[in-house]
């Protein structure tokens, strides 16, 4: 990353207050994203992968306490007044979500919802907004766009609704699209269509993308760089090919080893024992230590710092795993 980052997250922490209990959803994340870059965020439920970006845009409910820094082109977003955040949302950073059909307002027509974004971000009058809405629907590959403008979301399939969401995201001509599990609710062949569309749109517009997913395959095929999160912390970050070929953190290695392949020899899956910790009761030290076959006494006490292990490759593990060696081949990893 030679150029100035588009967005720089520094020591971001998010706490949720649940009565007297405080649970930490994001714990000191640092991430940067260059203009036009595609970054994948991988993690299981509760890893904080979505919360990080909702926090960056100020979209979390009031009971969430956000600390740290998120700078967009050098301007601080954490703690920024609502007006400034509203000017960023949709206009500089757009977001699409997991379940497209419930992300569109059921009582308004597609055209109305698109027009709302166009009037807001581009100051278009009604006629210009209508024409631009048609063009956007066309750009996201919706056939018979004119008729679709008059439809309500429930009249469209999930795949079409996600296309509408993408069109709406494009309305503000953003520099960054945050796609939060954009295809998880869709069938495989529709997922392929949507991922293909995202690629085409990025090629045309040059916007950067953060692709949040639990599916390593989805991320592998669509981004330049991957960050892996576990229990609120960033555990490993590297260019995609490097990460999948030479994962260094035991958790990343475990995720890859737990993933069945569609071709090649069938092998027994490596199963990471135990479960993801609850945000309210996180282990001290390394969050992954209780499930890690390579953990030693230090891992249980001291949180590992994130450090470089190769060019553009960072990980937070005390054990300094050699490249090419998987901790899941240790005898201790066998169930």
């Amino acid at each position: 990353m030679v150029s100035a980052p588009l967005i720089a997250i520094e020591d971001l922490t998010v706490d949720f207050a649940n009565g007297p209990h405080v649970s930490r959803a994001v714990d000191g994340i640092a991430l940067q994203l260059a203009p036009a870059e595609a970054l994948g965020i991988v993690g299981e439920s509760g890893s904080g992968k979505s919360v990080t970006w909702l926090a960056a845009l100020g979209l979390l409910p009031g009971k969430a306490a956000v600390r740290g820094s998120v700078r967009l082109d050098g301007r601080e977003l954490v703690g920024a007044p609502p007006r400034e955040l509203e000017a960023v949302r949709g206009k500089r950073i757009a977001m699409i979500f997991q379940d497209p059909s419930s992300c569109l307002n059921p009582v308004h027509r597609i055209g109305w919802q698109l027009g709302e974004a166009l009037r807001l971000h581009r100051g278009l009058d009604r006629r210009a907004a209508d024409a631009e809405a048609l063009r956007l629907l066309d750009q996201v590959g919706i056939a018979d766009a004119r008729r679709r403008l008059g439809d309500y979301p429930h009249q469209l399939s999930g795949g079409l609704n996600q296309r509408v969401m993408i069109a709406m995201a494009l309305a503000g001509q953003p520099d960054l699209l945050v796609a939060d599990e954009p295809t998880t609710a869709l069938d495989a062949t529709i997922q392929a269509q949507i991922l293909d569309l995202l690629r085409a749109v990025r090629r045309d517009t040059g916007m950067a993308m953060v692709l949040i997913s639990h599916d390593l395959g989805v991320v592998a095929e669509n981004v330049d760089r991957v960050a892996v999160m576990y229990a609120g912390r960033l555990v490993e970050e590297a260019p995609g090919q490097e990460l999948f070929a030479r994962p260094r953190h035991p958790y990343t290695q475990g995720l890859l080893a737990a993933l069945p392949e569609l071709t090649g020899r069938r092998r027994r899956l490596a199963a990471i024992p135990g479960t993801v910790p609850e945000p309210g009761s996180l282990p001290a030290g390394c969050r992954f230590a209780p499930r890690c076959p390579a953990a030693d006494h230090r891992c249980a006490i001291e949180a590992p710092p994130i450090q470089s292990v190769a060019v553009h490759h960072r990980t937070n593990c005390h054990r300094q795993i050699e490249p090419g060696f998987s901790v899941w081949s240790l005898p201790k990893a066998a169930e």
Binding site: Q191, H214, G254, E261, L262, L269, I272
Partner: protein
């Protein structure tokens, strides 16, 4: 050897209202439209397809939970008795089901041990004291701790709940388990635990599975044979590794190519549009509206499953030609 479970030309149709007002009409929703398969003892048949393809309905038909509109299920060569009859209830001991949502399948007010032992009570198996021992022993074999006997479902994680559901299904020593998306609700790291458990149980107990899932990778991992469904029909069927390594039906090829992988790139077939509604199945080959290879014959004539040289069966008029094109 006769198969453990056999489906013969199963159909399940529903009548639905289409249109409204004065033009309201009835249409037939063909959820399952002529499905046949066999499952041998101790083997796994994977059933894959996208939402609305009829795979879950097929699972319910397989257990006799719903009656077929036509066709029949055979268990050990005998026609399955009607649902609710005493003979069917007795049979249910040997045929169990596991659903996607373990929390929904469990009673949140009862300790898990009681729920695991419940099928023994229902089927009147064993003495009261013996039931507890059997529940404890089955808990151990699915990887639950004995001390969790008195726990409630909400005190367990998603993966542990699915183990409870499995334990409850296994306690009657079934010969076949129908698993409908058993791991889709679980995190990746937990999925592997449950997949390994299912494979171990099969090896130890010789259970057969009808494994229904939209996840091709998981299906390949657990299945001996696989059947690919599209709009209520099986379009391709055969050895799991073979079908996924060299898919022959254009739909299977598109489905396989749509699976994102961490490894190297493969051919990519992008289908246009959404699948048609099962209430409005296109004539001829139901896939022709999205098939890049469709011809006039495909639009008018329904293809049947035809055996291929490598032992698989494919329902496609153009399978030989398109297979050639793939090689070239």
């Amino acid at each position: 050897m006769s198969p453990l479970l056999e489906a013969v030309d199963l159909h399940r149709h529903y009548s639905v209202r289409t249109g409204g007002g004065l033009f309201a009409g009835k249409a037939v929703l063909r959820a399952v439209d002529g499905v046949s398969f066999r499952i041998r003892a101790g083997q796994t048949l994977g059933l894959v397809g996208e939402s609305g393809c009829g795979k879950s309905t097929t699972g319910k038909l397989a257990l006799g939970l719903i009656p077929p509109s036509s066709g029949e299920m055979r268990y050990d060569g005998e026609r399955m008795p009607a649902a609710g009859s005493p003979a069917w209830r007795a049979l249910r001991r040997r045929l169990q089901m596991v659903y996607q949502d373990p929390l929904g399948a469990l009673d949140r007010r009862l300790p898990i041990g009681t729920q695991i032992a419940e099928p023994l009570v229902i089927h009147g198996i064993g003495a009261v004291s013996e039931r507890r021992d059997r529940a404890l022993s089955i808990m151990e074999s699915v990887g639950l701790q004995r001390h969790q006997f008195g726990r409630y479902p909400h005190e367990l994680s998603g993966g542990q709940r699915q183990r409870v559901v499995l334990a409850r299904a296994l306690i009657t020593e079934p010969r076949l388990l129908v698993c409908d998306e058993p791991i889709s609700a679980l995190d990746v790291s937990i999925q592997a635990q449950v997949v390994n458990l299912l494979l171990d149980l099969q090896e130890r107990l010789g259970i057969a599975y009808l494994f229904i899932s939209h996840d091709l990778r998981i299906v390949r991992q657990v299945s001996h044979d696989v059947a690919v469904m599209y709009l209520g029909r099986i379009v391709e069927r055969g050895d799991a590794e073979n079908v996924f390594a060299r898919p022959a039906h254009p739909y299977t090829r598109a489905l396989v190519s749509a699976i994102p992988t961490v490894g190297d790139k493969r051919e990519r077939i992008l289908l246009g549009g959404d699948p048609p509604s099962p209430a409005n199945v296109p004539p001829g080959c139901s896939f022709h509206t999205r098939c890049p290879f469709a011809t006039a014959q495909c639009r008018s004539e329904i293809p049947t499953l035809q055996p291929q040289d490598d032992g698989r069966e494919v329902a496609c008029h153009r399978v030989r030609e398109t297979a050639l094109r793939l090689v070239a």
